[in-house]
């Protein structure tokens, strides 16, 4: 690691003066955010505020128009591949092939990432998300919650240092949502960094150390979550964010 990288290692995620223009409109105008390793941050914002755009830039799915984003010690644009090796991304789509079984899906993704694993290792991952009984069932038969759990199993197998989640509780029932909460808590306890976007004021905030609100293309609030109740958060949200849809 060179000197620059070791400086950046102080932060798991560091975003400076990030700007993103899409179709002539500035979605993000000036985002600055720093997240330490082991922190969990919940990003709130109205529809169209740019939460997903920001997350996708950090996941190297999109390039910023200006500014820099450094994740897990590497620049998202210049060293995208190295970021991809260290970061896990969970969005609405669960990255599943419906005609394949749960086990086959895991086999595909781990081998594609250059880390082929034995069937036993894959089974252990399935057991951890309680999908072991469905190892040989085609994913077509899975519910949304089961697909999300399979995605988390896949995520674990890649041993990321940072996880980015876009609305991880959307479409999940209570039980499945509890799963995700516990998963994130365990991940954080292991030293991992979490950045998630969420619309719900109860779930996801449980694991968060900080609440960040995005509005008008920039960060308008960045505060520790410890002292806030879900109602406090809702009030802050309504005060700072207007629906930009």
């Amino acid at each position: 690691m060179n000197r620059f990288d070791s400086m950046m290692a102080d932060f798991a995620i560091q975003i400076s003066a990030l700007k993103k223009i899409y179709g002539g409109r500035p979605i993000l105008s000036d985002v600055n955010l720093a997240i330490r390793p082991g922190e969990a941050v919940a990003l709130l914002g109205a529809n169209g505020a740019g939460k997903t755009t920001l997350l996708r830039i950090l996941a190297t799915l999109s390039r910023p128009s200006r500014g820099t984003a450094v994740v897990a010690g590497h620049d998202c644009v210049k060293h995208a591949e190295r970021v991809r090796e260290r970061v896990g991304f969970v969005a609405h789509g669960a990255w599943v092939y419906e005609d394949l079984t749960a086990l086959e899906n895991l086999k595909f993704w781990t081998t594609l990432s250059g880390r082929p694993m034995s069937a036993e290792t894959l089974r252990v991952a399935l057991t951890a998300v309680d999908l072991d009984r469905f190892a040989h069932a085609r994913v077509r038969t899975f519910s949304v919650g089961m697909k999300r759990r399979l995605a988390l199993a896949r995520l674990t197998l890649s041993h990321p240092r940072v996880i980015l989640l876009d609305e991880p509780f959307a479409g999940l029932d209570q039980q499945a949502g509890k799963w995700v909460d516990e998963y994130l808590a365990a991940f954080k306890a292991g030293g991992g960094t979490v950045l998630l976007t969420t619309h719900s004021f109860g779930r996801g905030l449980g694991v968060a150390d900080r609440i960040v609100i995005l509005a008008g293309g920039t960060v308008v609030l960045d505060t520790p979550a410890a002292t806030l109740s879900p109602d406090d958060v809702r009030r802050l949200y309504e005060a700072h964010a207007e629906d930009e849809a």
Binding site: A59, T60, L61, E81, R84, E85, F89, A91, H92, G93, A94, W95, V96, Y97, E98, D99, L100, E104, K107, F108, W109, T111, L112, S113, G114, P116, R138, K147
Partner: protein, 225 residues
């Protein structure tokens, strides 16, 4: 080697999914059958004219079924954001291209083999007599077809009016390969063997190499979406 294994796992995934759903193979088989009927209705009256046109018709059939097969090549990646999964998986993305290319090539060759059999049955094409040379030409032509086709299929998978843009982009680029393949096939079916068309075969081999190389080098830029 990790690169080869990654290309292989893509092929494995596509083959497995296709074996389970059988979507592409069934559709293409019926499509092939329909094509033969259309050829018969439009050209079948004059037996001699049909026999003269057979090499061209054969490749016309290959192209039309190839367009259908290739056009669907990346459709499953669009569900559940698998496309992004491919992009975010670490490693050289060209391995994915080669895996996809291998899968498409196998599918196309299978359909072409079926079409050859059907041509043999319905149009009295003596495939067996010229088989080795014919097979060689078909493989050479199809590799080039599949190489550009896979690249452009990836490109158009997420564009609106994909069904229009894909053939519009692919067909002009295929003209040299098509020309070479038809000329060589003519020579083979006329019993002349491959000796007289070596320059066409060289062209095909060169084109195939160039197309695969371009695919490997540029697939990364396409996958970025």
């Amino acid at each position: 080697m990790s690169y080869a294994r990654r290309a292989w796992i893509v092929l494995w995934k596509d083959a497995l999914a296709e074996r389970r759903s059988k979507e592409a193979l069934n559709a293409l088989f019926f499509f092939t059958l329909l094509l033969l009927f259309i050829f018969q209705f439009t050209l079948g009256g004059d037996r001699e004219r049909l026999t003269d046109a057979l090499p061209g018709l054969l490749w016309l059939g290959f192209v039309l079924s190839g367009l259908v097969g290739l056009g669907r090549a990346f459709l499953t990646e669009r569900d559940h954001d698998c496309w992004e999964g491919l992009l975010l998986s670490p490693g050289d993305k060209s391995a994915i291209y080669l895996g996809k290319l291998a899968g498409n090539l196998l599918l196309m060759l299978l359909v072409e083999a079926i079409m050859l059999v059907l041509f043999g049955v319905f149009f009295n094409l003596d495939v067996g007599r010229h088989l080795p040379a014919l097979a060689g030409v078909v493989v050479l032509g199809t590799v080039g077809f599949a190489a550009v086709g896979t690249l452009f299929a990836a490109m158009t998978a997420q564009v609106r009016a994909r069904e229009l843009l894909f053939p519009v982009l692919l067909l002009p680029v295929l003209v040299p390969v098509l020309l070479g393949s038809v000329k060589a096939t003519e020579a083979v079916l006329a019993g002349e063997g491959l000796g007289g068309v070596t320059h066409w075969l060289k062209l095909l081999a060169a084109a195939d190499t160039v197309y695969v190389a371009v695919g490997v080098l540029t697939f990364d830029a396409i996958l970025e979406g």
